[in-house]
């Protein structure tokens, strides 16, 4: 019989020590070691080839700069991430065709990198680096690194220029009126778009790199003279705390920085509309934009803002009031309609007007399922149809949505499996849920609808009342970066009610929303003496010399 032998496991401390020694680049230099570029070009290139050179998209272009004493140079970049034209015209051509054999400045080889940057390179954005970590990150981000013989510093040239989607109308937030501009997947293009709209020197675009392996660029965008510095600091703190290997979409950041990670309500607003981000920044909010995604995050927000559309502000106020009223009614329907129907039908049919009750009872005659199961089946069928229509390509998706819904509903009614009133209830609920401008809050309502249906079945209207109170208790406990989720309704803020269910004309919105406590609260230059002058007198009719309305 073979004798069983056990190999003694190595102590963890010993393994860690070995790993640390392996990772330590020592004389070779490495990203964790600080200023470790060697002055020997061959050593630097060898190290770089070891780190990233195994990939065939990394290009090492060697050439000579014709100075009085010719200098060997290597340009390193990633093919596909750089603009070929910029590389060829502004770096390679400039350096190789330089007629500087009699250049006095080149006689002294000290600080050669700085001198090349000042005298030869004609590219816009150049920086000098002497640490490996930023050099490698820059190369992998689409910049080019210029290594020079005898120089322990490297020139980083911004040559980014990859293929990307153009600026289109955002498909998830289409509007009848308003700019047809959405974000794209390129962070710099997105921040440039915001900058193009807000030409204020106080606009800050702070960059952070998140993701140990993806090194994703993330930008905080806010107006320094308007946004609450506590909120900005809090956002920055939460972003800096993120320690993951990759950020593929802003949703990754959202889950890390939102206040209530277990809540079904989103506490950040997600948008791909530039105008929406600009409006939020002007109100004193903070926007977080990430590379590789068109979806920006806005904070702080309130629950009601999830039901505001960017378009609300482009229509005249009477229409906006009507739209918002309809939207809030639809919110109520999408959340409560099936459960109230179940509660009334099961526990309190006496509440339904007599003629209607008779009609409903007539249509339900012969249906094999109880009301609750009938509603549940239909709601599930709608959810399945919705999911199927999203997964299928454009025209097919629409077809399956319409045809599937029509055929399924009609056939089920004809077969006597469900009652016609049920198709009306379920269809109205589904249509109502589409009116929510924010996808996140629409999903929350869809999730809540099912437990409410069970509660309606078990506890009737009483159960629904208690469930609503429980929901309110939960929602009042939510804060988005310090802002109560249900404000301005609770706690009541009279000033912010100007932009709530009812809206006032734009000229009457003298102050920014106060819930996020902006530093500069006024967004309108004209002054009003008191609240009714602010509310009912357009600026042109206000008395001159009035004091600031507070």
């Amino acid at each position: 019989m073979k004798k069983r032998t056990f190999r003694r496991p190595r102590p963890v401390a010993e393994l860690r020590k070995d790993k640390a020694e392996k990772q330590r680049p020592g004389e070779q230099g490495g990203p964790e070691e600080g200023p470790v570029l060697a002055s020997d070009l061959a050593v630097n290139i060898a190290y770089l080839k070891e780190r990233i050179g195994a990939s065939n998209d990394v290009v090492f272009r060697e050439f000579v700069i014709p100075l009085p004493q010719p200098v060997r140079a290597v340009l390193v970049f990633v093919d596909g991430l750089v603009s070929g034209q910029t590389i060829n015209e502004y770096i390679l051509l400039t350096l190789t065709a330089f007629e500087g054999t009699d250049a006095d400045w080149a006689l002294d080889r000290r600080n050669l990198a700085e001198k090349v940057k000042e005298h030869i390179l004609s590219i816009g954005e150049v920086s000098v680096q002497n640490q490996w970590a930023p050099v490698i990150t820059a190369i992998l981000s689409g910049e080019s690194a210029l290594f020079l013989e005898g120089e322990d510093r490297v020139l980083i040239c911004n040559t980014r220029g990859w293929e990307h989607r153009g600026i289109d109308e955002p498909p998830t937030e289409a509007a009848v009126r308003g700019p047809r501009v959405g974000f794209s997947e390129v962070l710099r293009t997105n921040t440039a778009q915001v900058r193009r709209w807000i030409r204020d020197p106080d606009l800050r675009v702070k960059g952070i790199k998140i993701g140990k392996r993806t090194q994703t660029d993330v930008a905080l965008v806010y107006l320094e003279s308007v946004a609450n510095p506590e909120v900005v600091a809090e956002v920055e703190k939460r972003l800096n705390r993120i320690d993951i290997d990759g950020v593929l979409e802003s949703a990754y950041l959202q889950e890390y920085i939102e206040d209530r990670p277990y809540s079904i309500f989103p506490t950040l607003q997600v948008t791909e509309r530039v105008d929406r981000v600009v409006a939020a920044v002007l109100e004193g909010k903070v926007a977080v934009l990430a590379d590789n995604t068109p979806f920006a995050l806005l904070m702080p927000i309130t629950f009601w803002q999830l039901y505001y559309s960017a378009e609300d502000y482009y229509h005249r106020w009477p229409l906006t009031i009507l739209i918002r009223l309809i939207r809030f009614l639809a919110f109520f329907f999408s959340l409560y309609l099936p459960s109230i129907f179940i509660a009334l039908a099961v526990h309190n049919p006496e509440l339904i007007p007599f003629n209607l009750a008779i009609k409903i009872a007539g249509t339900r005659e012969g249906t094999p399922f109880p009301v609750f199961l009938e509603t549940l089946f239909m709601e599930l069928a709608i959810e399945i149809l919705r999911e199927a229509s999203i997964r299928l390509p454009g025209p097919f998706g629409q077809t399956i949505g319409i045809v599937g819904g029509f055929i399924l509903g009609d056939t089920a009614v004809r077969a006597g499996l469900i009652s016609p009133i049920m198709t009306i209830i379920v269809a109205l609920t589904a249509i109502s849920s589409f009116t929510a401008p924010s996808f996140g809050v629409a999903i929350s309502m869809r999730i809540l609808r099912f437990p409410l249906m069970i509660i309606g079945q078990v506890g009737g209207l009483y159960g629904l009342s208690i469930a609503t109170i429980l929901l309110l208790i939960n929602m009042t406990g939510i804060r988005s970066f310090g802002v109560p989720f249900l404000s301005p309704l609770v706690p009541l803020s009279f000033s912010d009610l100007k932009d709530f269910l009812f809206v006032v004309p734009r000229w009457a919105m003298i102050k920014r929303p106060l819930v996020s406590e902006p530093i500069d609260i006024r967004r309108e230059g004209s002054k009003a003496r008191n609240w009714w002058e602010a509310l009912f007198y357009p600026p042109s009719r206000r008395r001159r010399g009035g004091k600031q309305e507070e």
């Binding site: 609450n228 506590e230 909120v231 809090e234 526990h347 309190n348 006496e350 509440l351 339904i352 007007p353 007599f354 506890g459 009737g460 209207l461 009483y462 159960g463 629904l464 009342s465 208690i466 109170i469 429980l470 309110l472 208790i473 009042t476 406990g477 970066f481 310090g482 802002v483 109560p484 249900l486 309704l489 609770v490 706690p491 009541l492 996020s516 406590e517």
Partner: protein, 365 residues
Amino acid sequence: MIGKQRMLSSRQITLLILGLGIGGSVLTLPSLAADVFGPSGWLLVFVLGLFYTGGGWFAARLAAKFPEETIIEYSPRLLGKWLGFLFNVVFILYLFLVIPVNVRILQEVVNISLLPRAPAWFVSGSYLLVLIYGATRPVDQLAQVNELLIEIALVIGLSVSLGSLQHFKPLHLMPLFSWDQIKLDKIETLVGVTFSFGSIPVVSMVVPYIRRPQEVTKATVKATLIITGVYTFLTLSVLGVFGYKETIDLSWVGLELAKSVNVQAVILQRLDLVLIVTWISALFTTGLIASFLVASGLAQLLRVRKGSALLWGLVPVIYYLSTLLKNYFVWSQTSFYIALLSLVITFFFYPLLYLLSLWKGKRHV
């Protein structure tokens, strides 16, 4: 902005007092008032309300003298160790007894109208659990819940009262001040009427959370005046619609008032059930605030950090008390003793404590 300590506005204090004060009494107060004062019952409610406004003024002035403390903390300093302790026990006992009454009213109303076949444990139990869960939340969250619920209940309750005026007959209120119809011998019922106004203790417990403690007096007086106005209007409507004799005989007179409202083309057939559904929120705020005050009062009295654990521990006791008596009408007789506690606290202890604080030279904020 992130993490403020003093977070309640004076408006929220007003609404907290309203939230504790306006609740189950709406359904029974007009009957009790008519029983004692006949057709002038609304005047009784109005005068009692004014008295309580005076009591509220004392309570608020006292609270403003100790903006950093609750009454549980400073009463032993003013009354002495043992008498102060005794007062604190009476104070917390009063608030505690409000909770089972509240639970019982809800169970009765739900059982007679919305869910006739539902077992008592299901109705009371589910309500009590949500109530205690809400009461263990932070005070600002509690104030926000109350703010929303009490406003909805007030708007709908007053709309129903206004709607009932279509049947209002001024003759029903006549004669005004007829000594024949005023029965002052019904002292128990008279004291029971005062149960509706016993919401002043809120101010003594929440003053450390108020953003501007100097506004507490205004907020309290405003709240007690609103309660007086609401109850007077309700009693006036009920008496005007039904007449005082019928009012005395009706058990849940608030619901009967809602039933009397006829609105053409309403989606739902019976308005009284709509009133009950919204009135659950008013009942809830009463129980919620009372539970919160009991939890924080007990925590301070027993010097424990978490009053919420104590409150969860009291759930079986509250449930037992709520089911102890046969029916709500026996309970309403018992509410005489609770109302008596409220009277003693408001008209004896508050003025006494205020005078003692003046004597000891404590200044207002």
